[in-house]
Symmetry: C2
Subunit: 349 residues, 2 copies
């Protein structure tokens, strides 16, 4: 894992103290600039080429009736990403981010649509999958060891594409009908928590639906038992392909020293797996937002993470991370472009 | 006061339900787009020409030793605004907002600096004042009735300049050493609260400094007594010129139907005065951020306001409102540019 640059961190902290404002008056925007200075190894950090990879996959557990939307929506949304109509497409356009959708295991046929464009906000489609959909983890392991390895690697390959394109910030998003069920199962395994405390509405379940979802997860946790104590095995048994890809991507960001912005519940659960397997990886991550999904708060706490935004979003796709990008850029601009007390001839405290 | 357009509000709400996302999944970004649709009278609102007026003034109460920074900083910061070095200058540049600093009562001599430029991020300086600094409200009324009228009018004139320039969003900021003391005094009067519960560190007082500040405010509240029950009289007796200007500006925004974004404690206290004097004016305001100043939470609650950001900022200048601008624009872009379920051929719930 790459280590943070303490010298540029200290210099950035010193610079913050000289800017024409009371100490600390820009709150967490100051900390973001200092963190990025340590990550980028420059006193005045900047984000010029953000990159968004949205990992998409299908989930066998949808057979248990745990989602408000039909399973076909995963594939339909992949096409919507390619046409530029999804929320993350709009956010990519507005923030000038490169956007790709990586099919790491959806049920969508590979030849459904050829790549129509790679304009701003229209996602380039990458197919990097070993299977179409996981098995139903309420009955068996979600994936084989080799499928897990493939999905983890597809996250890593996305980060390598981002680096090759000169990206200076990585956002990992996801799409997968059923994946709040998968994430909550995984979070319960990692945090040793009761699913009734963590299950939420996902795309829109009512209270009875949430109770059913928690019961399905509870049965799965009982089925897989003590094997879930190992994070990698938990990921294999009750995880999803897009979650494995995200975990692989976030671990690769830490290895290569590419700052990442973590999105909501699903991305944060993937980040927690990556941190458990590669302790300290979280030094390379900023957290975009706090999701309305109840489990997110516990997962964030386990990562000792305090996200920038808290807007009641619960969409996924990387949308909460992308929405935080303008703030991260403002933090860099303030840090770099404000006058110092000396430059402005303003009396300091 | 202008009334909101309920027809475009309803049409915008309907549009939100058709976009390719689970209902409500964009959280408060959805509500922002719908609010703006009602304000702008168009189903798909947009912010193209934001305008920032920073009102600057000095405070006689600084003689009581209530600020961590010397009084001369107000004038020095006016020059910093003109040179483009202050935080709000950077934020104006980054968000493409027009920026002016309106001297509504500082001690800075009128001829100290001629206007050097009006480039992006360099504030044009307007002098629109009837006095240089308020009287010390711990000993007498801060201003005369005619001075209050002038300051209120200078806020209104700023909104008129913004409208003449084609602005579609107004941000009111402030600069004034001592003005957290003034705002807390005014908030205590409006909310009938104890200063010990509301006084905070401002630009950086220690605990003893905060206690002293609360005592000074307590003495002032006792001095002015029952007269403070009237909001306008409270503003005259324990207010400040920039606070009166902000109140006048926010009231004018409601009268003309120009959406405004409210900043932190000082701006919100001004907004509370405007709402008390012109009930319903708050329909025209969005709230940018929750300040780290403890009184802000109470003032926001009195306005039934939930700000977009909560980043521990406490700078003023309009910085917390300007930092929320990119989010407001993303809310509009998502609302306008996302595909509907029908357009994208995605199955809805």
């Amino acid at each position: 894992m790459k280590t943070l640059n303490q010298a540029t961190r200290d210099a950035a902290l010193h610079r913050q103290g000289q800017l024409t404002k009371p100490p600390g008056a820009l709150g967490r925007l100051e900390a973001v600039a200092v963190r990025l200075a340590a990550m980028q190894g420059r006193v005045c950090p900047r984000i010029e080429r953000p990159w968004i990879s949205v990992f998409a996959a299908d989930h066998g557990v949808v057979a248990e009736g745990v989602s408000a939307f039909p399973q076909a929506v995963t594939g339909q949304m992949i096409l919507n990403f390619m046409h530029g109509g999804a929320a993350i497409c709009v956010l990519a356009r507005e923030t000038g981010a490169a956007l790709e959708v990586v099919d790491v295991g959806s049920l969508l046929a590979a030849d459904v649509m050829t790549d129509i464009s790679n304009d701003a906000g229209r996602a380039h489609r990458i197919i990097d999958r070993s299977a179409t959909g996981t098995a139903n983890f309420a009955r068996e392991a979600a994936m084989s060891a080799s499928a897990l390895e493939h999905a983890w690697g597809s996250g890593r390959r996305a980060v390598e594409r981002a680096r090759a394109a000169g990206a200076d910030l990585f956002v990992g998003g996801e799409m997968g009908i059923g994946n709040t069920t998968t994430s909550v199962a995984l979070a319960c395994a990692l945090l040793d928590t009761d699913p009734a405390a963590l299950a939420g509405p996902g795309t829109g379940l009512d209270a009875a639906g949430v109770r059913h979802k928690a019961q399905v997860i509870g049965r799965a946790l009982a089925l897989h038992g003590p094997a879930l104590a190992d994070p990698r095995e938990a990921l294999r048994r009750v995880g999803g392909f897009e979650i494995a890809a995200l975990a692989g991507a976030f671990a690769a960001c830490a290895e290569y020293g590419l700052p990442a912005v973590i999105d909501g519940l699903i991305a944060s659960t993937a980040a927690l797996v990556a941190e458990r397997l590669h302790p300290g990886a979280r030094d390379w991550w900023l957290f975009g937002h706090r999701s309305a999904e109840p489990a997110h708060t516990q997962v964030l706490a386990a990562l000792d993470a305090e996200p920038l935004l808290d807007l009641g979003m619960r969409l996924g796709e990387g949308s909460g991370a992308a929405a935080a990008l303008p703030l991260i850029r403002l933090a860099c601009a303030l840090h770099t472009d404000m006058a110092t007390f000396e430059e402005a001839a303003v009396a300091s405290q």
